[in-house]
């Protein structure tokens, strides 16, 4: 297997050239640090986020007191009153409205996000409180406390490609979690403590400062984009390394042998993928260290690593295509940057681009940017890191990213063979 010999050779060259290796690995570190400080809200004052709230809640009756409650109204009030940690600035500028108006406002970007409270929200909350109250009593009896199904789904709506939505939804999710937790803990203390305690009062008096929300920043939304940008720059590194083989004449040596374009490129792909993996790990670690609030726990990080490596392989393949056209290190560096930087804009790494739908596939609209694998890498990174989505949320994009990467690699093999492994003119 000739590609294995090439892989070994490239791997040795990569790890023995310590200086270059250090630069390749330190680059994402510095890069993330710089962007983290730039967008991480250092010295930047917190602003309230515009939130549309649509409340369909019909209310419910509390089981013990028989009191009529509307948790939808209560939640709205909580959202209005919530403030940034250690600050007097409100988290949200709440705009209570109808669903159609909320949608309009979302489109016009008058609001960053819309929260839709379902009609059974109070019922569900009451069910939760009831089950919490019953829990200590039913322990050991074997009967399930929550025998009735009362799940209410709160909808957070918005444009997932919009930075404002990214941050708002992050904060909103945090507030909602806190709201639920507070309800449960307060109900518990209500049972063990004095009887007849009014849950609603506890809530109203308690949720003022939401811990953890103080540092929610633009960076949380931008971090996946930064990762894609850093991954894309691997293109230039790979193009330079391969072009060096041309420049030094070692490729001429190899091309007189039985080596094929696939051997040299696939052989090169293996060690470079390893580098891409390490880069992604560094990017994730640095992002988290400087305050990236990712959702979805360890699973998300593992998904992100997987997706990031696919993005890295796409960049490596693009680097190989570039190397089929450049004659020296300088040209490779320039052409690599010339292609990878605009590409990072095209895939939406920095800001969302206008919608250019060119078709529909499996119920998803296919945009012109979707022919680039990194667009899907970015979607998938955002879906899992920023929005906490699992495999279901990213599978579609991972599939596309992998397919398009394979296409890029094949193009690389064909072009490299045509331009570099035949007799020169």
């Amino acid at each position: 297997m000739k590609f294995i010999s090439i892989a070994k050779k490239d791997f040795k060259e990569l790890i023995r050239d310590r200086k270059s290796l250090a630069m390749i690995l330190l680059f994402p570190l510095f890069f993330m640090l710089v962007f983290g400080f730039a967008f991480g809200g250092m010295g930047q004052s917190n602003q309230p986020h515009n939130l549309a709230v649509v409340n369909y809640d019909k209310g419910a009756t509390m089981p013990i007191t028989g009191e009529t409650v509307n948790f939808g109204n209560n939640l709205t009030k909580v959202l209005e009153d919530s403030k940034y940690q250690d600050s007097d600035v409100h988290l949200f500028d709440v705009n209570l409205t109808t669903e159609s108006d909320a949608n309009k406002k979302l489109e016009a970007k008058d609001v960053d996000a819309a929260l839709i409270i379902p009609e059974n929200f109070s019922q569900s909350m009451v069910a939760m409180i009831t089950s919490t109250m019953q829990q200590p009593l039913t322990t050991g009896t074997g009967t399930s406390a929550s025998s009735f199904n009362a799940t209410a789904t709160l909808i957070i709506r918005g444009d997932t490609g919009y930075i404002g939505f990214g941050t708002s939804q992050g904060i909103l999710t945090g507030v909602l979690e806190q709201y639920k937790d507070t309800l449960v803990t307060q109900t518990r203390s209500a049972i063990t403590g004095s009887s007849g305690a009014e849950t609603t009062q506890y809530i109203q008096s308690k949720v003022e400062a939401i811990s953890g929300t103080g540092s929610f920043t633009t960076f949380d939304f931008l971090a996946p984009g930064m990762m894609v940008f850093a991954i894309l720059l691997l293109t230039t590194t790979v193009a330079s390394a391969l072009t060096r083989e041309v420049e030094k004449g070692t490729l001429a040596r190899l091309k007189l042998s039985n080596m094929t374009s696939f051997d040299i490129l696939f052989g090169g792909l293996l060690p470079w993928s390893l580098i891409a993996g390490v880069q992604v790990v560094i990017l994730l670690i640095v992002a988290v260290l400087i305050g990236f609030h990712w959702q979805g726990g360890l699973n998300s990080l593992i998904f992100a690593l997987f997706v990031g490596i696919i993005g890295g392989i796409a960049s490596i393949s693009l680097g190989m295509i570039i190397a089929a056209f450049t004659r020296n290190d300088n040209q490779a560096g320039n052409l690599g940057t010339l292609i990878s930087v605009p590409t990072s804009f095209l895939v939406g790494a920095f800001f969302p681009l206008p919608q250019v739908v060119i078709g529909h596939l499996w119920g998803q609209s296919f945009q012109i940017y979707d022919i680039l694998p990194w667009t899907h890498v970015l979607y998938a990174l955002r879906a899992t890191l920023t929005f906490g989505g699992g495999w279901d949320a990213i599978a579609y994009h991972v599939g596309w990213a992998a397919l398009l990467t394979a296409v890029l690699f094949v193009i690389g093999v064909v072009l490299f063979s045509k331009n570099r492994l035949r007799a020169d003119n």
């Binding site: 010999s5 001429a252 007189l256 039985n258 003119n425």
Partner: protein, 313 residues
């Protein structure tokens, strides 16, 4: 088996408007050492790059054993380029193993071959040293070893002794001879060193400005420009060189007189015996000798005869 291994037919190469190689026609025999002699920029490297299939000719063709060079089996040719073409971060052994793998040399055979090459080229001690830490001479020898790892039938050496000290050069020359004599390889080498072409080659092609000027054995070439010795002299007034040359030419037994870089080369039979006559002539012009030496006819004289100039370095 056909005795001709490489046949070059009407080979031409132009880069833009510049004609690097012009209508090259030659046949190289199996098992000979064939030398391309010419100054830098004469078109030697361009010619051999076309002959091994690295460069596409503008017109004409190269046949290896009767087949187009682009269609021959990979591994028929091994080329040792003029520049050092090595992987800086691999060791000698790793480099050789890599190229062996690329030529699909079977594992056990490859290992033996690597050991032998390292030994033959005095690199065994440095087998596990990375290339960037080798001396210039060692790099040269590894550069050569890499061309031989797959035991090619035809070995092409582009300026192999460039940058070698006399001792390493001798090692290299012996090795090239053993390639032909012990292993029956066909060796093509380019050089701008007369001495190298003379001592190593069975036949020499003299090439300048992309044109083949002469192709023959070194001894025939030397014969062609006449036997005898060469007197090289520098006279006190170089301005009178031409006048002096014209009068010496008229002397009996003088084969030729040329001026090379303000030095006068007189080729004559029994040059030492002719010296008094030449001195008389010099006195006649009222000139003195600044420097004088007598030596045997060399390929350089052939070259000067053909091109009218000395070798450009």
């Amino acid at each position: 088996m056909n005795n001709v291994i490489i046949e070059v037919q009407d080979l031409k190469k132009s880069f833009g408007g510049f004609l690097a190689v012009e209508n090259l026609n030659l046949k190289i025999n199996r098992g000979e050492v064939f030398g391309f002699l010419g100054p830098n920029g004469a078109g030697k490297t361009t010619s051999i790059n076309m002959m091994v299939g690295l460069l596409r000719p503008s017109s004409g063709q190269v046949l290896i054993d009767g087949r187009e060079v682009q269609e021959i089996e990979k591994g028929t040719i091994g080329i040792c380029p003029q520049e050092l073409v090595l992987w800086d971060y691999l060791t000698c052994r790793e480099s050789l193993m890599l190229m062996g793998d690329m030529y699909e040399v079977p594992g056990a055979k490859l290992k033996k071959r690597v050991d032998k090459l390292l030994d033959d080229l005095f690199l065994t001690e440095k087998a596990n040293t990375v290339v960037s830490q080798l001396s210039g001479g060692m790099k040269r020898r590894l550069n050569l070893a890499l061309a031989l790892i797959h035991e090619p039938e035809i070995v092409v050496l582009d300026e192999p002794s460039e940058g070698l000290d006399p001792q390493s050069r001798r090692v290299l020359w012996n090795y090239i001879r053993s390639l032909r004599d012990d292993e029956g390889k066909t060796v093509i080498l380019t050089t701008h060193l007369m001495d190298e072409a003379d001592r190593l080659s069975d036949r020499v092609a003299i090439i300048d400005h992309g044109k083949l000027l002469r192709l023959d054995t070194p001894s025939n070439l030397k014969k062609e420009t006449g036997e005898g010795d060469v007197v090289e002299m520098i006279i006190s007034d170089p301005g009178k060189n031409q006048e002096f040359i014209n009068s010496v030419k008229k002397l009996e037994g003088i084969y030729g007189v040329v001026e090379v870089n303000s030095q006068i080369n007189i080729r004559a039979r029994d040059a030492v015996g002719k010296l008094p006559l030449i001195m008389d002539e010099l006195k006649h012009f009222g000139l003195r000798v600044v420097d004088l030496s007598v030596r045997q006819n060399t390929l350089e004289d052939v070259f000067i005869d053909l091109t009218g100039t000395g070798l450009r370095e």
